[in-house]
Subunit: 341 residues, 2 copies
DNA sequence: CAGACTTCCGGAAACGTTTACACAAGGAGC
DNA sequence: GCTCCTTGTGTAAACGTTTCCGGAAGTCTG
C-alpha cells in the first residue's frame, strides 16, 4: 500500500499515467495508442488492454487545454419554447454535426444579464464558437461580442459598424407583406399585435406595419403590444376585440397569432370569414393550428444554416473580413387568411 | 521586436502572464487579484489596469483543468421541439441557476448513437454533471451512464439494478387515468394513438391503456402507432377514422393529441361532442389548442426540479447511495373531453 | 557490411490556470 | 531591541493531456 492510485487523478479515476504504468510503457506511447497514431502491434495491444481494464476515460478538458479546441458550438437563444428557434437549432445542428462538432443550446430567458454572462462564460473557451440570436441588442451585448475570444455569429439585426458576422432578415418588409396580402383580399380594418417596442424585431415590425398601412391609405390605429408569447397574444387580442372591430389581424409572430386565434374562436368570431389572421415566422405552430395560419416566413432554417456556415468558416480562418447575409421574407398563405385549406 | 507577444497565448491573446508582466508583478499575484483574493491596494490597481489595457479574458478551460469543475450542467433530451422537455428544462434551469451554474441543452434527435456519443463527449468532463431523458434505454446507454466520470441523473424508467439517480413517473397509470375518465363520461368506443412500441413510454402507455380497457370490459382494438410527433398523430388519427368510429381518443402525448384534433376537425367531427380527446404530458400545447385539450399531467416541472436537485446533491457528495424519486400522474380536465371550457 | 532510412519509443516541454509553500517586510507587544 | 504575528509577494508545482525531439533498433540498398 502507499503506492496505490499513484498515477490516478485527484478523484481516483485513471489517467493516462495509470494506463501507461499498467501497460509498462511511457505516457507518450500510451497517448499515441489511445489516439490511434503509431505504436507497434504489441504496444497497442498492451495499452488497449490496460485502458479497458482500468476503465480509462480521457479528460476532455485537459485535451482541450492542449489542443485549444473543444469541438463544441453553442447556440444562445432567448426562448427555446418558441418553435422558430427550434427550427433554427435543427438547421444549425445539421451543419455543425457535419463538421464533427456538437451543438449545445442555452436559453437565456432574454435577460440581458444572463446573455452577457453567457458570453462571458462560454465564450471563455468552453466552446469553439457561438451563435446568438438576441432580441435586444445593448451596448453590453456588443462589447461582450467584440471582446469574445471565440468567434460569435449573430442572427438578427446589428448596427452596421459592429464587425461581427451576421445573418439578418427584413421583418419590416415581412410585416408589409402581410398587410399587402390582407389589403389585396379586401380587408380594410387591419389590426396589429406586436411584441415589445424595446426589441429589435418589435420596432422593425411596427415600422413595416405602419408604412404599409399608410401606403394603402389605412390608419394604423388598432395596435396592441405585449410580449412575444402565446398568453400575451391572447390577451392583446381580447383587449383589441373589446375596443374595436377589425376584419384582419397581423401578428408579430406565430405564438401571438395562435393566442389571437384562440381569443377569436372563444369569442365566436369565424376565421377567416369574420377576421383574417396572419402570423410571422412560419413555424410548425402555424400548421398545427386549426384553421392553419398564414404566416410570413423569415427563413429560419436558412438563417440557421447560414449562421452555422459563417461560424465554421470563421473558426477555420479568424482573419476573414466580417460577413453579412440577408434572407428575404416571403408569405405563406393558408386558411386563416382565406387561402387554401 | 522579438519579445513582442512573449507572454501571449498561441493565438495571440493575452494570458495571465501578459497581464503580470505588464503590471510588473508575478503571475501568482496577478491571478490572485483577478480572482479577487488578496493583493495590496497598489498591486490590485496595477493588475486591474493591465488586464483592462490588454483585454484579458481568462481561459476557462485552463481554470477548469486546475479546479476540476466547469460550472456547467447539461440536459440531454431527445426532441426539444416537444414542449414537455421545454417545461422540464425551465424547471431544471431554475434550480441549476440558483446554484450558480449554467445549463446547456443538447438535442439528441433520439438516435442512440448520438446519445451515447454525447455521454462520451460531454461526460468526459466538459460538464460537471448531466440530466438525460432517453426514451429508449439500450445496453449501451446503461454502460455509458455507469462508466461516466461525471454524475448522471435519468428522467425516465430505468432497470432497477442500475445504480443511477433516477426520477420516474408512472405513465402506465397515467394512461389508465385517461381511460377511466372517458369511461366515466360514458364513452364506450375508446381508441388509443400511441408512440413506438420500442420505447419505454410507448410500452408503458400501451400496457396502461390495455389494462384499463379490460378493467372496463372494453376491447382495445382501436390502437394506432406512430412516433411521438404531431404529423404522426394526425396521420394515425386519419387511419383510425378511416376504419372505425371511436367516440373518444386517448393520445400518448400532447403532440399526437394536437395532430388528432386537427384530423378530427378537418373531417368534420365535433370535439368533444362526437369524439372526446385526452392527451398526455399536460404541455402548454394542450392549453393553446381550441378547444383546449384534457391531458394527463406527468409532472414535468416537478420531475425536472427533482432531477436537478438529485444531480446537485450528487455533485456535492459522490458517495450518496443511488436515489429514486417517483412522481404520480394526475388528470387535467379541459374542454376536449367535455370538461369546463 | 556500411550507410541511409524508417519505425518505435521515452523524456520533457508545453497548454493557461490556481495554489501550497517559503520568505521578506512591517507593526504590535513586552 | 527582541519576538511574534500579519500581510503581501514570488517560485514552483500541480491539473491531464498532446507532441516535439533525440536516440535506439530494425530494414533496406548497393
Amino acid at each position: 500500500m502507499g503506492r496505490k492510485r499513484l498515477h490516478d487523478a485527484a478523484d481516483g479515476r485513471p489517467t493516462v499515467h495509470t494506463v501507461a504504468a499498467r501497460a509498462g510503457v511511457s505516457i507518450a506511447s500510451a497517448s499515441r495508442v489511445l489516439n490511434g497514431v503509431g505504436g507497434s502491434a504489441e504496444t497497442v495491444r498492451r495499452v488497449r488492454e490496460a485502458a479497458a481494464a482500468v476503465g480509462y476515460v480521457p479528460n476532455a478538458i485537459a485535451r482541450s487545454l492542449q489542443s485549444q479546441r473543444t469541438g463544441l458550438i453553442a447556440f444562445a437563444v432567448e426562448d427555446i419554447g418558441n418553435p422558430v428557434y427550434v427550427a433554427m437549432m435543427r438547421a444549425i445542428e445539421a451543419v455543425v454535426a457535419e463538421s464533427g462538432r456538437q451543438l449545445l443550446v442555452h436559453a437565456t430567458s432574454g435577460q440581458v444579464a444572463s446573455e452577457t454572462a453567457l458570453l462571458r462564460r462560454l465564450a471563455h473557451r468552453y466552446v469553439d464558437g457561438m451563435i446568438i440570436s438576441p432580441i435586444r441588442v445593448t451596448d453590453s451585448h456588443i462589447e461582450a461580442m467584440t471582446a469574445s475570444p471565440v468567434p460569435v455569429v449573430v442572427i438578427g439585426q446589428l448596427p452596421d459598424e459592429v464587425p461581427v458576422d451576421n445573418v439578418r432578415t427584413d421583418s419590416r418588409t415581412g410585416a408589409a407583406l402581410a398587410v399587402d396580402h390582407l389589403a389585396a383580399a379586401g380587408r380594410t380594418r387591419i389590426a396589429f399585435l406586436n411584441g415589445p417596442l424595446d426589441t429589435v424585431p418589435g420596432v422593425a415590425r411596427d415600422a413595416g406595419f405602419r408604412a404599409a398601412m399608410a401606403r394603402h391609405g389605412m390608419s394604423a390605429d388598432m395596435i396592441e403590444v405585449g410580449d412575444f408569447q402565446y398568453a400575451a397574444g391572447r390577451a392583446a387580442a381580447e383587449r383589441l376585440l373589446a375596443r374595436a372591430r377589425p376584419d384582419a389581424i397581423v401578428c408579430a409572430n406565430d405564438l401571438i397569432a395562435v393566442g389571437a386565434l384562440h381569443a377569436l374562436l372563444v369569442s365566436g368570431h369565424r376565421v377567416p370569414e369574420d377576421v383574417a389572421l396572419v402570423g410571422m415566422d412560419d413555424t410548425e405552430l402555424a400548421q398545427m393550428s386549426y384553421p392553419q395560419i398564414s404566416s410570413v416566413s423569415l427563413g429560419s432554417e436558412i438563417r440557421g444554416r447560414l449562421a452555422a456556415r459563417l461560424l465554421l468558416d470563421r473558426i477555420g480562418d479568424a482573419d476573414l473580413p466580417p460577413r453579412r447575409e440577408q434572407v428575404p421574407p416571403s408569405l405563406v398563405i393558408r386558411a386563416s387568411s382565406g387561402g387554401v385549406a
